[in-house]
């Protein structure tokens, strides 16, 4: 399986974008900003990895934002109101979110329903469930939280590699290995190629579907925990709209929405590109609400066009036929 070219292209786009930003705002080229980029986008990176698996397998998961919201409020309530030790709360919430994903996967497979809609219902369900837990935001005061949020490796130049950033990097690497090197990963691509064919070739399509959505929800759960570290609080309305951002990140990272192609590293770069756009807009700081939106759209457009242009260029020379029976 290839996949390197699109990734390289995304990387080139990212570097080019960074250089442009740095030319305009020299401050951007500091380790501090880079560190912030990783920390601020940690939870997005984590969900986007899960989304990558789902999209490569030919599906989509709209529920991730709500699962993050649910996770934060669940963890907060468990620790602060129900007196559950933080670690136990994490385990419980991860088990819950994994089960939730598995249920969505099973529904999709057994009833042959479109993932878009099943996960849309999942999105309503998870958000609704978090409203039931609490509509108020709940601060978390457990000592683990301050320990983790304060923990950071200092890098020369004022940069900080925080714990959440490290969690994200670990998940990116783990995800990349899982997708590239294991049988599970190969099956994910197989499902994206064609479910029927994959099933005829002996892939247990049902089990795979369940596992893939489970993985996505599990990662959304982890992202939720990371988000709760990031804000030291739980809030039922957190991470609204994250699903669309993640899908965009995955696509910017060179993954086809139709499935069958893509890579984790590409997604990671896609998340960084989005983060860069955001940072650029923040540094500019003169944009009104509407110009912010317009600029985000325009930059998104520019990045995608740049990338498509490069992909088209890379495809151009098609060599002759590679070996045939004579």
């Amino acid at each position: 399986m290839k996949g390197l070219p699109p990734v390289l292209i995304t990387a080139i786009v990212l570097v080019a974008g960074s250089v442009l930003c740095a030319v305009q705002f020299p401050n951007i080229a500091s380790t501090r900003v880079v560190g912030n980029l990783l920390t601020d986008n940690a939870f997005r990176g984590i969900v986007a990895i899960g989304m990558t698996f789902v999209i490569i397998s030919g599906g989509i998961d709209l529920s991730v934002g709500s699962v993050i919201g649910f996770t934060t409020i669940f963890v907060a309530m468990a620790i602060e109101r129900w007196g559950v030790p933080p670690l136990l709360a994490f385990v419980a919430v991860l088990a819950l979110s994994a089960a939730f994903g598995a249920a969505m996967g099973a529904t999709i497979h057994v009833f042959d329903l479109p993932p878009f809609i099943v996960t849309l219902a999942g999105m309503f369900l998870a958000r609704g469930a978090s409203f039931l837990l609490s509509t108020e935001s709940v601060p978390i005061t457990a000592p683990v939280y301050s320990t983790v949020s304060d923990f950071a490796l200092r890098v020369p130049g004022g940069g900080r590699l925080t714990a959440v950033a490290m969690i994200m990097l670990a998940i990116v690497i783990g995800g990349a290995l899982l997708l590239r090197l294991t049988r599970f990963g190969a099956n994910v691509y197989a499902l994206g190629g064609s479910r029927t064919t994959a099933s005829l070739m002996g892939v247990a399509v049902g089990k795979m579907t369940v596992k893939i959505y489970m993985l996505s929800s599990l990662l959304a759960g982890i992202a939720g925990i990371v988000f709760s570290f990031y804000t030291s609080a739980g809030y039922s309305l957190s991470a609204v709209g994250v699903e669309l951002d993640s899908i965009a990140a995955v696509v910017i990272g060179g993954t086809l929405l139709t499935g069958g192609q893509g890579s984790v590293i590409g997604t990671f770069l896609g998340v960084l590109i989005q983060g860069l756009i955001q940072t650029y807009i923040n540094f500019d700081g003169t944009l009104s609400s509407w110009w912010t939106k317009i600029a985000t759209g325009v930059l998104l457009f520019v990045f995608i066009v740049l990338q498509q242009g490069l992909v088209a260029l890379a495809r151009r020379p098609v060599a002759g036929r590679a070996g045939a029976a004579t």
């Binding site: 401050n27 500091s30 501090r32 900003v33 912030n36 601020d40 939870f43 409203f131 509509t135 108020e136 935001s137 709940v138 601060p139 005061t141 301050s146 949020s149 304060d150 988000f227 990031y230 804000t231 030291s232 609080a233 739980g234 809030y235 039922s236 309305l237 957190s238 991470a239 609204v240 709209g241 955001q278 940072t279 807009i281 923040n282 540094f283 700081g285 003169t286 944009l287 009104s288 609400s289 509407w290 912010t292 939106k293």
Partner: protein, 302 residues
Amino acid sequence: PANAAELTIGFSQIGSESGWRAAETSVSKQEAAKRKVNLKIADAQQKQENQIKAIRSFVAQNVDAIFLAPVVSTGWDSVLKEAKEAKIPVVLLDRDIDPSGKELYLTAVTSDSVHEGEVAGDWLVKTVGDKACNIVELQGTVGASVATNRKKGFDAAIAKHANLKVVRSQTGDFTRAKGKEVMESFIKAEGGGKSICAVYAHNDDMMVGAIQAMKEAGLKPGKDILTVSIDAVPDIFKAMAAGEANATVELTPNMAGPALDAIAAFKEKGTIPPKWIQTESKLYTAADDPQKIYDSKKGLGY
């Protein structure tokens, strides 16, 4: 001592979800311009993570002060700590944050949204007197702290009066369209609106929608059904002038003015302002010459 004219202040604004918010942004700009302060506004599009990013980037740019209109009350500790480490004073606008962060900001210029609800409730209690009164409530967005607080305050105000009862309560998402839709269904569910005595809306926009719904149903808002809402945006004064609305509680869009004064004083003289600069939650009724207020508010960017 630093001159106010040289100040650069970063303002992490929530977004632009309502006319009131737009007015706050434009009033902030006007107030900053008056004081020759360079105000950098970062719009967070309703997302806390964007606000955190914005604050971080303000810190990275080493601004002189940071204004923050927090989208939720929790989750600011670590980023505000960063600001504190960088010795950048932070002023909260419009909403307060969680008590644990008290020492992390210089002052908060806010109104008390529970109190706003109380003012609205008290007005209704006074107006209705001893008559039995079924109230329908248009809530803000589920989970938004303002909605929760305005509900809390209102409920507290009417709690002691058994003749006042909230019979229906649904979210109108702070918008006109939803306010209208929800009110339509309230009217249907309450026998054509005959059993409704008053509407309480968590913001004026929803009330404007609800007023339309009542009129379309052949009811006379302001007469058949009392209205009380919060924010005091221009359009509600127009309705009041037409006799279609009864009362509104003001939430001033000028939070930046007092905040800028506090920062200037702090920078120049080192004056530590009080921890909480509360803005007035003033009640307006038809007795307050609504047309005049409408004319004066129209230009504020609502």
